[in-house]
């Protein structure tokens, strides 16, 4: 064996020789001596010996970073490629390279909740800036430091509405069918144990927006809150002013569910209705700098009116002063939170999606209002053009006649899932088939074309779809 710098590798224990454990044999020895035990295992001697016979045989032995890098490289390559026209709650947008290069700087990446604010001004100021941006986008008074994702943010908004609307005793939430089906499921799964009931409101089959007649049936009833999606799951634009006014006229809070990107061009929830605006606004933050990444991590936006701030779940950062009068930032309103209020907290939520909020804040700083507007408008225009191209194909038509944002529903002259599968084999992810979510929407596909798509991409989709439908028709005939 070659003599090396330092001591020779001990042949015996090698317990310290594991990745991410810095202990040398000398360290271990002197540490055990300081503690006064012979062996590391002695430190576990308070544990019942019956519990200490553990086999981890089915876990692989440790691999080097090189081996894992190769494995992950191969797996990532398997998942690569394809032209994506799926939206349905997660949207492909360009993320400036600077966003994640800055976000993953060790000082952001490996810091934690700013319990010692003086040592965490970076994270705290970022969140304060984020809160300011979110209130700007939504036109609301207050934003929290983020929740897990859009769907769970809706659930928290429902719980918050029940706390905040003291006039309502019914714990009844009107939940339009035009809200994302997964959001409706999550809200139900999280809230149902607290005796909250969700009443579904159908959509207008011609427009794809909330059916006013279905809503009117609840007029005069005790309604705690009405959920208003904008754009809705079908990409269609709801008549948010009328809906907000309806809610307020009926003693209900208005909970907006928005795509934050859309607020670069659509009326902000803070001004919905006759000026009162929505009471609570939630949304999926993903379009603001989070990669698609098979579903997460994303982040949930939650904003509200100032009067409801003490009912808000999640962390909030406030600006204050230090002993010398300098501005600084701290977590505030902590008495709402579980680590103080325990069973009386506004939520059990503890973490926010700090890293994603950092990314979003940098993303919004880089794009600015004009950049977001250009992204939104280009996505809208691309979807318009895609729809034109696709509906030029025999048998492909729009399902609803309403104005949409950057997503809409098309009906195909064939089983939608079968067509999508065929498209996927040709490298085109053509959208989401809605038959499994809505009985009445057989053979429909929800399609989306963001600013990332070129004219050539739109043509590719149209060409491949035409081809698949031709083949499919031929097969069906045969």
């Amino acid at each position: 064996m070659i003599r090396r710098g330092g001591v020779a590798q001990p042949e015996n224990d090698q317990r310290g020789t594991m990745p991410f454990i810095p202990h040398t044999e000398d360290d271990i020895r002197s540490m055990l001596d300081a503690i006064g035990v012979k062996d590391i295992d002695d430190l576990f001697d308070e544990i019942d010996p019956r519990l200490r016979d553990v086999s981890l045989d089915s876990i692989p032995t440790r691999a080097s970073e090189q081996a894992v890098s190769r494995l992950m490289g191969e797996r990532a390559a398997r998942d690569s490629g394809g032209l994506c026209f799926i939206g349905a709650g997660a949207y492909e947008h360009h993320i400036p390279a600077a966003v994640w290069e800055l976000t993953t700087r060790g000082e952001f990446y490996s810091a934690y909740t700013p319990y010692q604010p003086e040592a965490s001004q970076g994270t705290l100021q970022v969140v304060y800036e984020y809160q300011t941006m979110m209130t700007g986008l939504t036109g609301m008074d207050v934003a929290n430091a983020s929740l897990y994702d859009g769907a769970s943010a809706l659930a928290e908004a429902v719980l918050m509405a029940v706390r905040a609307n003291r006039k309502s005793k019914a714990s009844r939430i009107l939940m339009p069918a035009s809200v994302h089906p997964f959001y409706r499921q999550v809200a139900h799964n999280i809230c149902a144990n607290q005796g909250i009931t969700f009443e579904s409101i159908d959509f207008d089959t011609a427009k794809g927006t909330i059916d006013r007649d279905a809503l009117e049936r609840w007029s005069g009833e005790d309604v705690t809150a009405l959920v208003i999606p904008q754009p809705n799951f079908f990409g269609a634009l709801e008549d948010v002013d009328t809906l907000t006014d309806w809610a307020h006229d009926n003693g209900a809070l208005a909970i907006g569910v928005v795509n934050p990107l859309s607020l670069a061009v659509l009326k902000e929830p803070g001004r919905w209705g006759n000026g009162e605006g929505a009471d609570i606004v939630v949304g999926e933050g993903q379009p603001l700098g989070a990669p698609l990444a098979s579903g997460g991590p994303y982040f949930g936006i939650l904003c509200c009116r100032k009067k409801h701030v003490r009912q808000m779940p999640g962390r909030v950062v406030g600006r204050t002063q230090d002993l010398d009068g300098r501005s600084g930032y701290v977590l505030t309103l902590q008495p709402r939170e579980q680590h103080i209020r325990r069973s009386k907290a506004t939520s059990n939520i503890c973490t926010n999606q700090g890293l994603l909020v950092t990314a979003a804040t940098i993303h919004m700083s880089l794009l600015g209002a004009q950049g977001l507007e250009n992204v939104a408008a280009t996505s809208i225009a691309n979807t318009r053009r895609l729809v034109e191209k696709l509906t030029a194909i025999d048998g492909v038509e729009r399902v609803f006649d309403s104005v949409c944002f950057h997503e809409t529903l098309l009906r195909l002259p064939a089983d939608a899932q079968a067509v999508l599968d065929a498209l996927a084999e040709r490298g085109v992810f053509g959208g989401l088939a809605l038959a499994s979510f809505y009985d009445t929407l057989e053979n429909t596909v929800l399609v989306c074309a963001t600013e990332t798509k070129t004219d050539a991409d739109l043509d590719t989709y149209a060409d491949v779809l035409a081809d698949v439908l031709r083949t499919h028709a031929a097969v069906s005939v045969a």
């Binding site: 991410f20 876990i59 440790r62 319990y115 990444a293 098979s294 600015g368 104005v403």
Partner: protein, 494 residues
């Protein structure tokens, strides 16, 4: 060193032009009534402004990558860079959550294998990765316990037992699940008071939520007896995995009798804390709760090279408590945990617990040697332990906060303070396995020096920190005069 707000760097008309399409096509088909009329209030900045601003901001943070960060119960261990780099490969980042499973076999394979490894290391029967943080993992656990009892028609069980030392999330979660909280006292050794437990269980007991080792930094010695008592009463046992790092690969919650466990992958499996998140609260279940797991879960068909993976949904998990996120929880966090788990391997996982415990007991011994008071002096430390500064407060009028702030000046992040609430002037100290003996020794030296400073002149501590970007911040004023956003930015263009 402080840094202006990004809004203060803003100038009307300035932009980072490379970052968006050059123009906004007309959207005139959208009725004017639905369109925005007022300003958005975002900053207008050049790309360099933004890079410089956030680079400078980052430098204002303490972090694992720059400082020892012994924040108790938070497991601030080394975050290997490979975890982030490999989870950020374009093939993973660009995949849409609703893209077909055929175009996600790489990612699904990782998640499936992570489920398997976590199942084994916790001694459970199955794992669902979908919960997005510890608190959501807790919710999942209690919701499953509730659904289990209800599925058996055992509908009167609405009480959740929670030791008084528990994390605040435990009682908060029980309430979110529509349960009542029954608090169980702690005995003088830091263990659950068994007699009180026996008195508390009943036909209304849905289950118990336990952290083991507890937040007091000690392993629950009577855990098998506790399991017997709760199971005997018809309740189920929930394991709060916040402190799993202490026992990883050494002792398994499943073997202790737990029916469900959540894991904080951002603690034990080293995914980033990210200034407060994302977390990841994977849950493991025993046989009884297997059919209640939240979806989606990753399933595997076939074996070896022929194996294919798919999402299991309601059809596959008959009694599932359902979906808790729009898609697949914090999927990218799970990839990071997977990489970490593969880098550790089985032997590495065991070493995590061993060396986290070694570091903790060593640091405890060294502080004891220098006269600091331990909350549970007769117990082994788990991966963390508690110093109480009650004596310092009485004798010198310096608080745990004062010690904490002064530690910042010495270049150490403070431990968790004033938690658990049971211990006065509490310092909950968790060094983690990735810190070296020298760092621990330096921390001890700082603690001793600060105590000496307190003896000489307590104002040295009261004035701390003095070496940081700001001095002590007024948290009371912050809560009183709420300033939650920068006003001029929106005002300017409203």
């Amino acid at each position: 060193m402080t840094e202006k707000l990004i809004f203060e760097h803003s100038r009307p008309g300035r932009r980072a032009l490379a970052q968006a399409p050059a123009e906004a096509p007309s959207i005139d088909d959208i009725p004017a009534a639905l369109r925005r009329e007022s300003g958005v209030g975002l900053p207008e900045a050049s790309e360099m402004d933004v890079v410089r601003h956030y680079t400078r901001l980052s430098q204002l943070n303490f972090s694992i990558d720059t400082h020892f960060y012994p924040l108790g119960s938070c497991t601030m261990k080394h975050n290997p860079r490979a975890c982030n780099t490999l989870a950020s490969l374009p093939g993973f980042l660009n995949r849409h959550p609703l893209a077909p499973a055929s175009h996600g076999q790489g990612m699904l394979a990782c998640l499936y294998e992570l489920q398997e490894m976590l199942t084994t290391v916790t001694g459970m029967d199955a794992v669902s990765l979908t919960p997005m943080a510890g608190a959501q993992g807790e919710f999942t656990g209690v919701a499953m316990i509730k659904a289990y009892h209800e599925s058996r028609g055992d509908t009167a069980r609405d009480e959740i037992l929670v030791p008084d030392a528990a994390h605040g999330t435990n009682p908060a979660t029980a309430v979110m699940c529509g349960c009542k909280v029954v608090e169980i006292p702690t005995d003088s050794d830091g263990d659950v008071d068994i007699a009180a437990l026996r008195g508390a269980v009943s036909e209304r007991t849905a289950g118990i939520m336990l952290t083991n080792p507890s937040t007091l930094g000690v392993f629950e010695q009577d855990i098998l007896e506790i399991a017997e008592i709760v199971h005997g009463a018809g309740g189920l046992l929930y394991y709060d995995g916040a402190n799993l790092n202490a026992i990883l690969g050494k002792v398994r919650p499943g073997d202790m009798g737990f029916d469900v466990i959540h894991m904080n992958l951002h603690k034990t499996f080293s995914t980033p804390h990210g200034g407060g998140g994302p977390g990841s609260g994977a849950v493991g279940v025993g046989k009884r709760l297997r059919d209640f797991m939240p979806i989606p879960v990753v399933g595997k068909d076939g074996e070896g090279d022929a194996a294919t993976y798919r999402w299991l949904t309601e059809q596959d998990v008959p009694h599932t408590i359902g979906r808790l996120s729009a898609f697949m929880g914090n999927a990218g966090v799970l990839l990071r945990a997977y990489v970490y788990a593969r880098l550790l391997g089985a032997e590495g996982m065991t070493r995590v617990a061993e060396f986290a415990t070694l570091n903790s007991n060593y640091l405890m011994a060294r502080l004891r040697e220098h006269g600091f008071d331990l909350a549970f002096a007769d117990r082994r430390a788990s991966h963390e332990f508690i110093v109480t500064l009650k004596r310092q407060k009485q004798q010198l009028d310096v608080t745990a906060t004062d010690f904490a702030k002064r530690l910042l000046d010495y270049g150490f992040h403070a431990p968790t303070i004033y938690f658990p609430l049971l211990v006065p002037e509490c310092f909950l100290i968790e060094p983690t396995e990735s810190e070296s003996k020298e760092t621990l020794d330096a921390f001890v030296a700082a603690m001793v020096a600060i105590w000496d400073e307190a003896k000489a002149d307590a104002t040295t501590l009261k004035d701390a920190p003095v070496n940081l970007p700001v001095r002590r911040l007024d948290e009371v004023a912050a809560a009183k005069n709420l300033d939650l956003k920068h006003e001029s930015a929106t005002a300017a263009d409203a």
